[in-house]
């Protein structure tokens, strides 16, 4: 019994230490916050604090719904994030270290590979009439027997 209470006391001590340490940690972080461009719009789809901690969960959830179930709501979609948060200077969310995504992620040292595939800039024109992304040439016919082999 005595042993249990000593454990409890230890746990309480650790808890108290954590509570005391938290504000000082925040204060330290607040001293040198990342500078970032917020882009357009007055407010985000959720509170800033919530988004700061949970944007990755929302994006991951939404991406699965979009890819697998064809749910294309815009509230939590990456495309919509980019549409609002793209910097006015660079037109991108990750071109320079002051752009919205890159600012925090370089500050926190968290590498993100979203932009390996996803566009960092919003849609330029009407959907379906997007600029040719690379030089697009008419593809010549494929006269070789490899392709003819697909049909038997």
């Amino acid at each position: 019994m005595a042993r249990l209470s000593s454990w409890l006391r230890l746990a309480a001590l650790i808890g108290a230490a954590a509570v005391l340490a938290a504000p000082s940690f925040q204060a330290a972080a607040g001293a040198d916050k990342p500078k970032l461009e917020h882009g357009k719009g007055d407010k985000c789809v959720e509170d800033t604090d919530f988004m700061r901690r949970n944007h990755m969960e929302l994006l991951k959830h939404h991406r699965d719904e979009t890819v697998h179930q064809g749910i294309r709501t815009t509230k939590y979609s990456l495309k919509q994030c980019v549409a609002c948060h793209a910097s006015e200077k660079t037109g991108s969310v990750a071109a320079t270290k002051e752009d919205f995504c890159a600012a925090c992620h370089s500050y926190a040292g968290v590498k993100l590979d979203c932009w390996d595939c996803h566009a960092t800039k919003p849609m330029a024109k009407q959907p379906g009439q997007a600029d040719a992304q690379a030089e697009v040439k008419a593809s010549p016919l494929m006269p070789n027997p490899q392709n003819g082999g697909a049909k038997q």
């Binding site: 179930q69 815009t74 595939c117 040719a132 392709n147």
Partner: protein, 251 residues
């Protein structure tokens, strides 16, 4: 600890729901024999998941497909941000194929792309579950899960899939693509979800050939369903019994 609050749904729930809907429909048709229940093929609301009431399919009339015309290929490249090159390491989602029957001398030209099989071999072999068939029959790669092993490229009888070898930039915001993943024709899923035809079909119509018809095979009122009912059509490699979503007429 701080679990984000979000709409209560996940993939499994979605699947179960679609199963329940499907079984309810089945029960309904059992109760009232002779009454057919048809899915709605029109634009679905953005928040609604795709269902297996719809099966997207395409019919290619090789008699109308013009030799030398590559409008469908160009449109695909533009829509999906492909380079248009045809080297061994370049992505081709659709290609024109010329075929000749050596016995009769009959020649045809046709577009060949992912056939969106009902039983896709690429999905069978995928070790991670990245290759999957959407409920409405469109076969896709989830690039978040794809590890680039390329088993699916080996398994596909149509040579429909490509691997991205080099880093890419300036992708179309609607068509994310990147190095290290396998990719193929998506039936322009981003367009289909807002009730447009795939880019290749649109281009073919625009060129005046009208060799490609796209639509819901499950909806008897759709052009493609009427056409496959009226004419003799062929599945390429029909012997594999994959029940392809793309069918050909005139070969």
């Amino acid at each position: 600890m701080n679990e984000p609050k979000r709409p209560e749904s996940n993939l499994e729930n979605g699947e179960r729901r679609s199963f329940l809907v499907a079984s309810a429909a089945l029960a309904g048709s059992a109760v009232a024999p002779g009454v057919m229940l048809y899915g709605i093929a029109q634009a679905k609301p953005a928040e609604e998941a795709v269902t297996n009431k719809v099966r997207w399919g395409m019919l290619v009339d090789t008699n109308k497909c013009a030799t030398g015309c590559t409008d469908c290929v160009t449109a695909c490249n533009t829509e999906n941000g492909l380079s248009g090159k045809t080297g061994p390491q370049d992505s081709q989602w659709i290609r024109k194929v010329d075929i000749k029957n050596l016995q009769t001398g009959a020649q045809h030209t046709l577009p060949m792309m992912c056939q969106h099989c009902e039983h896709p071999p690429c999905v069978d072999v995928c070790p991670t579950g990245a290759s999957f068939k959407r409920a409405d029959g469109i076969v896709l790669v989830d690039r978040h899960i794809c590890i680039g092993c390329r088993y699916c490229m080996m398994a596909c009888p149509y040579k429909a899939r490509s691997f991205v070898h080099e880093p890419l930039t300036d992708q179309n915001p609607e068509v994310p693509r990147g190095k290290g993943c396998v990719e193929s024709c998506t039936f322009c899923v981003q367009r289909v979800d807002r009730d447009q035809s795939p880019a290749c079909v649109e281009a073919c119509d625009k060129a005046g050939h009208k060799a490609m018809v796209f639509g819901d095979l499950n909806n008897p009122e759709s052009d493609v369903a009427k056409a496959v009912k009226a004419y003799a059509t062929t599945e390429v490699r029909g012997d594999l019994r994959l029940n392809t979503g793309v069918r050909y007429q005139g070969i």
